[in-house]
């Protein structure tokens, strides 16, 4: 890539009117009212999502992975049959994630339990067989993996006809590996090229909106998702989604999603993009009712924010990997809540403006100052602590920043480290202890389980 191409990628993608923050009235109304410049939908995955969005439908998706092809196939067929707009997921197992394909093969031979579908160990023909006749224009399938170095996996996926995959140089390196960030970034650049060189479009989703699942304030989630989207675009990918995981406050999340859409339109506007929301990725409610209520909140959030796609969690999230039926239940519940929200949800809702957009924009801009291309900017920004994921133990993360949940449930920076954002008030400035960490990690678990744990159930716990 020549230097002028690199330079070009560091400017906003949509050169049209980039509005200063003040130009958007505080009472924008529902986020979906704001038009989002976006390129034509490309490829099977994105065309399906776009079509459903234009029909006013939220696309729902499970996380689902089984070791053997027969069970995995049954899972895909069951998700396809869901009454609603669903896309399929094949979650890859943890051995494949770390390129330990021998261990995956051994486990397959012995019939040991694996926590996902080992694409490379199964081989391309077997994976093609898995998809044949179930994946299609009306049921695209995404492969989810969590690998910092997914070269082998991406090469296999490109040859087997996968419609989409996900991750990112930061989001699958810092939380999930010991791989040095520069190495992961170089690997992901090649991986993007593998996808970009395919004759058919393979969609790529940034996992940047989910860092560590919880306790990462929205501005950093948004900035990382946008920056990874820019990185994908810089390396030739033209169909991209940016992500955001439900946190601890519906109002804060709604503001965050409006900011994410605005920034995506600004920085990714010349490619095909959409937004995916994740049902809470942290410590989950343990009761079935609590878990469904958590899921319900995320569906309402997705609808209100104009989000195109939602990745759900199930009632057994706190306990184990869900069965196919439990996944189908979660998807159909989400579809039912979606219908209710579209019928009865608030209209003309005011989105609170607390500065998430400006903070995220500041992080994006400050990061891009650190390199001639997005990859080196990301690497250098982390090396200087300008990007700093709170609590993340990876050796290339400064781990100086700290976040805390305030009494109103708002996720705030208690200490931003060296990041160009402001700490928010006195709350949570004391040192984090094992006890306070557990309390914060369990915030949503308590919030959604509380009403369930009354009477006999609560007495049983005391």
């Amino acid at each position: 890539m020549n230097s002028s191409a690199m330079g070009a990628s560091l400017r906003p993608a949509a050169p049209g009117p980039v509005l200063p923050a003040r130009a958007v009235p505080a009472h924008t109304g529902a986020a979906q009212a704001a038009p989002s410049p976006v390129g034509p939908a490309r490829g099977r995955f994105s065309r399906f999502v776009r079509r459903k969005h234009e029909q006013g439908r939220l696309v729902v998706q499970p996380r689902m992975g089984f070791a053997d092809t027969r069970t995995m196939r049954q899972g895909l067929e069951a998700v396809r049959a869901v009454r609603g707009a669903s896309v399929g997921t094949v979650t890859v197992d943890s051995y494949t994630r770390v390129n330990d394909h021998d261990s995956a093969r051994r486990a397959l031979e012995r019939g040991d339990d694996l926590n996902g579908y080992p694409v490379v160990a199964h081989g391309e023909e077997e994976t093609r067989r898995l998809l044949r006749g179930v994946a299609g224009d009306d049921f695209p399938v995404q492969f989810r993996h969590g690998s910092a170095l997914p070269g082998e996996l991406f090469a296999a996926l490109a040859r087997t006809g996968a419609d989409a995959t996900e991750g990112g140089p930061v989001s699958y390196c810092l939380p999930y590996s010991r791989v040095p960030l520069p190495r992961a970034t170089a690997a992901w650049a090649e991986c993007c090229r593998i996808l970009a060189d395919q004759p058919r479009t393979v969609h790529l989703e940034s996992f940047g909106g989910c860092m560590l699942g919880q306790l990462c304030p929205p501005s950093l989630l948004i900035a990382l998702s946008i920056l990874e989207g820019m990185f994908f675009r810089e390396h030739g990918v033209r169909s991209i989604s940016v992500s955001y995981a439900q946190q601890t406050s519906p109002e804060q999340d709604l503001e965050a999603l409006a900011a994410l859409r605005r920034l995506a339109a600004q920085w990714l506007g010349d490619v095909d993009w959409h937004v995916v929301v994740y049902t809470y990725m942290g410590v989950f409610p343990r009761t079935s009712v609590g878990a469904f209520r958590m899921l319900e909140d995320s569906v309402r959030l997705a609808v209100r924010s104009g989000t195109e796609r939602l990745i759900v969690k199930t009632a057994v999230e706190a306990h184990r990997i869900p069965t196919i039926e439990e996944n189908v239940d979660a998807l159909e519940f989400a579809v039912a809540v979606e219908a209710d929200e579209r019928l009865h949800g608030p209209t003309g809702e005011t989105i609170r403006q607390t500065g998430i957009h400006d903070e995220a924009l500041q992080l994006v801009k400050a990061t891009l100052e650190f390199g001639d291309d997005v990859g080196s900017a990301l690497v250098n920004a982390f090396a200087h602590g300008l990007l700093d994921v709170p609590y993340c133990l990876h050796q290339d993360n400064a781990n100086r920043s700290r976040a805390a949940i305030d009494p109103a449930g708002i996720l705030r920076w208690s200490d931003p480290g060296a990041m160009p954002v402001a700490a928010s008030g006195a709350h949570g400035r004391g040192p984090v202890t094992a006890r306070s960490l557990i309390d914060m990690l369990g915030y949503n678990e308590r919030r959604f389980d509380r009403e369930e744990l009354v009477g006999a159930a609560a007495r049983g716990m005391l």
């Binding site: 943890s94 051995y95 994630r97 770390v98 330990d100 261990s103 486990a107 040991d112 339990d113 694996l114 926590n115 969590g146 939380p175 999930y176 590996s177 010991r178 560590l212 699942g213 919880q214 942290g282 410590v283 057994v316 306990h319 184990r320 990997i321 609590y391 993340c392 133990l393 990876h394 050796q395 984090v432 202890t433 094992a434 006890r435 960490l437 557990i438 990690l441």
Partner: protein, 155 residues
């Protein structure tokens, strides 16, 4: 869990297993052990066996604490403990493992016994909560390896 403190200078290596990417369990354990006066070297997520062995040889901890929640713990843990117990330097080191040891929820219980039989000093399945790990920490001063194994059998 606030009233147990360790003798000063207890050194721990905290780690996940090779295929496990979860991190909050490791962040929590570090804080817990530090609050009890322990010194912690935290190896983080997805640590290959060879790195765990090398770091333990370097730091010679009072205990290696393995935490894993991705459901592969019973597989990765068995492989790891075989290597540790075969290592002339580390064969006698205290090693415990805890978390979600399989993908079967309450059906994971049997894995704890298997792991202790294979050489872990104790195994703590998450369904049992923290109390047993606390008991282990409290007993580090006085208990024999055999007693530690009995603590772990409460899985």
């Amino acid at each position: 869990m606030d009233d147990i403190s360790l003798a000063p200078e207890r050194r721990f290596v905290v780690t996940s297993v090779s295929s496990d990417a979860h991190m909050w369990n490791l962040v929590f354990l570090q804080l817990l052990l530090e609050e009890r006066g322990g010194h912690v070297v935290n190896l983080g997520a997805c640590v290959p066996d060879e790195v765990i062995l090398a770091e333990c040889r370097r730091h010679r901890p009072d205990a290696l604490v393995v935490s894993t929640v991705n459901g592969h713990g019973h597989l990765d843990g068995l492989r790891l403990i075989e290597k540790l117990r075969a290592d002339p330097v580390l064969a006698g080191m205290r090693v415990v493992i805890g978390g979600k040891l399989g993908i079967r929820g309450s059906g994971n219980a049997r894995f704890g016994a298997e792991l202790v039989a294979a050489g872990f000093d104790a195994a703590f399945e998450s369904e049992a909560g923290l109390a047993e790990f606390d008991a282990f920490l409290g007993g580090l001063e006085t208990m024999s390896t055999r007693e530690l194994a009995l603590v772990g059998e409460g899985v």
